[in-house]
C-alpha cells in the first residue's frame, strides 16, 4: 500500500567544466591538483543533487590545449560521473572550447525547459586562439546568457580580463569602482566576488572554489538555497551564494605549495 509511485517534476541542470590543459598546467602540479579537485568535488555535487529533486544535474567537461575537445561529451548524471585525469600539453584554445559549449547550449540539443546551466571556466593562462569569436558564439545563445558563468584563475599568469569577459560585468560593481569604496560594508572581502575571476593561488583554494561551485552554486541554481536579505539577488540568473573562505580569510590554513 505505498504512496503513489510519482515524483516531483524536475528540470535538467547542465553543469560544464571547461578546463585549461595547456602546457603551463604541467607546472607545479597544477594539472594533478585540478584533476583531484574536480574528482573530490563530485560527491558533494551528487549530494546536493540528491537533496534537490527538482534538478537533474548533468555533467559535461571540455578540455582545451592545442585544440578543444570533449572530455565528457554525454550529459552524465552527476552520481555516474567517473573522472579520468586530464593531461596537460599544448597551447590555450579557449575560444574553441567556448564554441564547443555554445553548440551544446543551442536549442536543440538543449531541452525546451531547463534550470540555468552552470559553466565553470578554469584557466592559468591567456587564450592563444580567437577568444572573441568563441565568446561571441557562446553569448549568442540565450542559454549561455542565462547561465551561471564562473571562472577560476589559477596562478598569477591567468588572463583575468578574458575570464571577466566570460563572466560578464559584475553587476554589483560599476566599472572602475573599488569594492567597498561606496562606504557600504562589502559583501565579500575586497577583491572577491563570485562575479569576478576567483584567484586560486594554491591547490587548497582551487579545491575550495570547485567544491563551492559544485555544491553551493548548484544548490542555488536548483533553488534549494535559502534567500538571505541583502544578498546577491540582482543581475544574475540565480542569487550566488557566499564564497568559501580562502587564504584571504582568517580560516585559511597556511598551504606550503604556492604557485
Amino acid at each position: 500500500m505505498p504512496f503513489p509511485d510519482v515524483r516531483l517534476a524536475s528540470r535538467p541542470l547542465h553543469f560544464f567544466y571547461i578546463c585549461d590543459c595547456s602546457g603551463s598546467m604541467q607546472a607545479e602540479g597544477r594539472m594533478p591538483s585540478l584533476n583531484q579537485a574536480i574528482r573530490q568535488s563530485l560527491p558533494g555535487m551528487a549530494e546536493v543533487a540528491r537533496q534537490n529533486p527538482e534538478a537533474r544535474v548533468l555533467v559535461r567537461a571540455v578540455s582545451f590545449a592545442d585544440r578543444a575537445g570533449w572530455h565528457i561529451a554525454t550529459p552524465t548524471p552527476v552520481e555516474q560521473v567517473r573522472w579520468t585525469d586530464l593531461q596537460a600539453g599544448g597551447v590555450t584554445a579557449m575560444g574553441e572550447a567556448l564554441e564547443l559549449v555554445a553548440a551544446e547550449l543551442r536549442s536543440p540539443p538543449m531541452e525546451a525547459r531547463a534550470l540555468p546551466p552552470v559553466l565553470v571556466l578554469i584557466s592559468d593562462g591567456q587564450p592563444t586562439d580567437d577568444f572573441d569569436a568563441g565568446l561571441h558564439a557562446l553569448m549568442r545563445e540565450p542559454w549561455a546568457r542565462r547561465a551561471v558563468r564562473l571562472a577560476i584563475a589559477i596562478g598569477h599568469d591567468a588572463d583575468t580580463d578574458v575570464l571577466q569577459q566570460f563572466i560578464g560585468e559584475d553587476p554589483g560593481l560599476p566599472a572602475g569602482e573599488v569594492p567597498g569604496a561606496s562606504g557600504q560594508m562589502p559583501r565579500h572581502p575586497v577583491g572577491r566576488s563570485p562575479r569576478r575571476p576567483l584567484p586560486a593561488s594554491n591547490a587548497t583554494t582551487l579545491a575550495r572554489y570547485l567544491q563551492w561551485a559544485s555544491t553551493a552554486v548548484v544548490g542555488a541554481a536548483s533553488t534549494s538555497a535559502s534567500r538571505l536579505g541583502g544578498g546577491d539577488d540582482g543581475g544574475g540568473p540565480v542569487p550566488l551564494p557566499d564564497l568559501p573562505p580562502t587564504e584571504l580569510d582568517p580560516l585559511e590554513d597556511p598551504d606550503p605549495i604556492k604557485w
Binding site: 500500500m1 515524483r7 516531483l8 517534476a9 534537490n52 525547459r113 533553488t223 536579505g229
Partner: protein, 450 residues
C-alpha cells in the same frame, strides 16, 4: 570539505563540566558545519558557525539564546539546547574557528530521512504515514507559533521524516525568531516563500510561515509544487526572474477553482494529477484558500489548527480497497459510489464508529485517539487509545486493540463484564461499553452502519 573543528577529539567549552567528544562532520554549507558529538555518553549534534557568517547575522546569538531559554515547542524540533563557546584551551586549538560559536541540539534519529527523499519518490511510505507526517508538521508549527516564535525558512530541506511511522523532525531552527522581530538574515526559499516576502514587501513572520507551511504540506501530500503548471512550462529557463514571476508576481495555484491558467500538464506534472484526487474536499479547500485569496490576503491563510483538524479527520477515514489492497480515503459522496483510486473498482461502504467527538471508519489501522473521546481535547496523534484490528482468523470481524494505559473495563450487552489489557483486543460486535482511561467508548448503538 575541510572541517572547522578537529574531529575524533575532545574539546572543552565554557560552562560545560565535561569535555565534548567531537565525532564526524555530518554536513555543512555556507553557514557552518554540523558535527556528531557526545557529551557524557549522550549523542548530540553540534552546529559550528563560520565566523564570516556570524558577521552577516548579528542577531543570531540573541535568537538562539531566546530559543534555548523558552525551550523546544515539542519533541519534533531539533531545537538548540545550549550555546557553546570554546574555553581558552580550546580556543587556542581551534584557530580562527575558535572566534565563532556553536550550539548543541538533539541528533536526528537515523530512521528520519530528508523530506526530499519523499518528494523524489525514493522512499516507500504509506499514504497513512504521509498524512501523519503532515499532521505532525502542522502540530509542530502550531506549538512553535503558540510559544511566540516564527520559523521563517520553511522548506523541504528542513524537514525529516520516518517512513515507517510518519514521525518527523524539524531541523535548522537557528532562523527561528520571536514573532514581530524584524531582524534575521533569512528571507526564505523559493517555492516556499510567501509572495509578499519574495517581493520585498514584508519580512518573514507568522503569516508568511502559514504560506510556507501550506506549500510544504502540498509537496508532502502530492509530491508536486503548488505553482508549477502550464505557466511554468511557458518559462524555458527557470532562473531568478522566472521564479519571481511564477511564485511572486503572478502566482496561480495549479488547482485554483477560479483561475485555470496554471493547470498541471498531463505529461510534465503527472504527480499532481494522480495525488490531488486522493484527498477529500475538506483538505483540498484548505489549499485553495491559502493559495487563492490567501496569496494576497495573509488573513485568509489556513491556520495550523485548521490543518491539524482537517488532517486528523482525514486519517479517521482511511481504508484499504478489498480488491487491490490500496489505501483509500473517504471522499465526498460520488455518483455511483466510491471507487478505488488505483483499481477503479467500487469500494463497499464501510461502517463507522460514532464517537463523542467525530467518527472513525472501521478499517484496519485506524486509531481512536483521546480527542475522539473528549471534545475538549485538541487533536493529537501521540497518545492513541485503540487501533482497529482484524481478527486473525475470522475474515470480516474487526476489533479494537488496547494501545496502552490502564486496563479497559468492557460491558457487554448481556451485562457480562471483562477486562482488556494493553496489547489485547476485543471484538466490536454486540452492544458494549468500553471504559478506557481517556473516556467511555460506546460501540453497539453507536455503530453507524452504511
Amino acid at each position: 570539505m575541510s572541517s572547522l573543528l578537529p574531529t575524533d577529539t575532545a574539546l572543552t567549552f565554557e560552562g560545560l563540566a565535561a569535555p565534548l567528544r567531537v565525532g564526524r562532520c555530518l554536513g555543512g554549507g555556507s553557514q557552518g558545519q554540523v558535527f556528531a558529538v557526545e557529551l557524557e555518553g549522550e549523542p548530540l549534534a553540534l552546529k559550528w558557525y563560520l565566523p564570516a557568517f556570524l558577521a552577516r547575522d548579528p542577531g543570531l546569538r540573541t535568537r538562539l539564546e531566546e530559543s534555548i531559554r523558552r525551550g523546544a515547542p515539542n519533541e519534533d524540533f531539533l531545537w538548540p539546547l545550549a550555546l557553546l563557546h570554546p574555553d581558552d584551551a580550546s580556543r587556542a586549538r581551534l584557530g580562527a574557528a575558535g572566534r565563532g560559536f556553536g550550539y548543541l541540539m538533539p541528533l536526528r534519529p537515523p530512521a528520519c530521512v530528508g523530506a526530499a527523499e519523499h518528494a523524489a519518490g525514493r522512499i516507500a511510505i504509506s499514504l497513512r504515514n504521509v498524512l501523519r507526517a503532515a499532521f505532525f508538521l502542522a502540530a509542530g508549527f502550531h506549538d512553535l507559533h503558540s510559544l511566540g516564535f516564527c520559523y521563517k525558512d520553511v522548506s523541504l530541506g528542513n524537514l525529516f521524516l520516518d517512513p515507517a511511522s510518519g514521525g518527523i523532525r524539524i531541523g535548522d531552527n537557528d532562523n527561528v525568531d520571536v514573532i514581530g522581530s524584524t531582524g534575521g538574515a533569512v528571507l526564505g526559499t523559493w517555492g516556499f516563500m510567501a509572495p509578499e516576502v519574495a517581493l520585498g514587501q514584508a519580512r518573514p513572520d507568522v503569516a508568511s510561515d502559514l504560506f510556507s507551511l501550506a506549500a510544504l504540506q502540498f509537496q508532502l501530500l502530492t509530491r508536486h509544487d503548488p505553482f508549477r503548471g502550464a505557466l511554468e512550462l511557458a518559462i524555458p529557463c527557470l532562473d531568478l526572474p522566472g521564479r519571481r514571476r511564477l511564485y511572486a508576481e503572478d502566482p496561480v495555484f495549479v488547482f485554483d477553482p477560479r483561475d485555470a491558467r496554471n493547470r498541471p500538464d498531463p505529461h510534465e506534472h503527472v504527480a499532481a494529477l494522480i495525488t490531488w484526487p486522493l484527498y477529500p474536499r475538506s483538505l483540498q479547500r484548505l489549499f485553495e484558500e491559502t493559495f487563492g485569496p490567501g496569496l494576497r490576503d495573509p488573513s485568509r491563510r489556513t491556520l495550523t489548527g485548521q490543518w491539524k483538524q482537517a488532517l486528523a479527520a482525514v486519517l479517521d477515514h482511511l481504508r484499504l480497497c478489498p480488491h487491490c489492497g490500496e489505501e483509500n480515503l473517504e471522499l465526498d459522496p460520488a455518483p455511483g459510489g466510491a471507487r478505488c483510486w488505483r483499481c477503479r473498482r467500487p469500494l463497499p461502504p464501510a461502517p463507522q464508529l460514532v464517537l463523542a467527538n467525530g467518527r472513525v471508519t472501521i478499517a484496519e489501522g485506524n486509531r481512536i485517539e483521546a480527542h475522539h473521546l473528549d471534545p475538549l481535547r485538541a487533536e493529537d496523534l501521540r497518545r492513541p487509545v485503540a487501533e482497529v484490528v482484524a481478527h486473525p482468523s475470522r475474515p470480516g470481524l474487526f476489533g479494537l486493540r488496547h494501545l496502552g494505559g490502564p486496563a479497559w473495563r468492557v460491558e457487554r450487552a448481556d451485562g457480562r463484564r471483562f477486562d482488556v489489557l494493553p496489547g489485547e483486543s476485543c471484538s466490536l460486535g454486540r452492544a458494549a461499553l468500553v471504559h478506557t482511561g481517556a473516556g467511555p467508548l460506546r460501540i453497539g448503538d453507536h455503530l453507524l452502519r452504511p
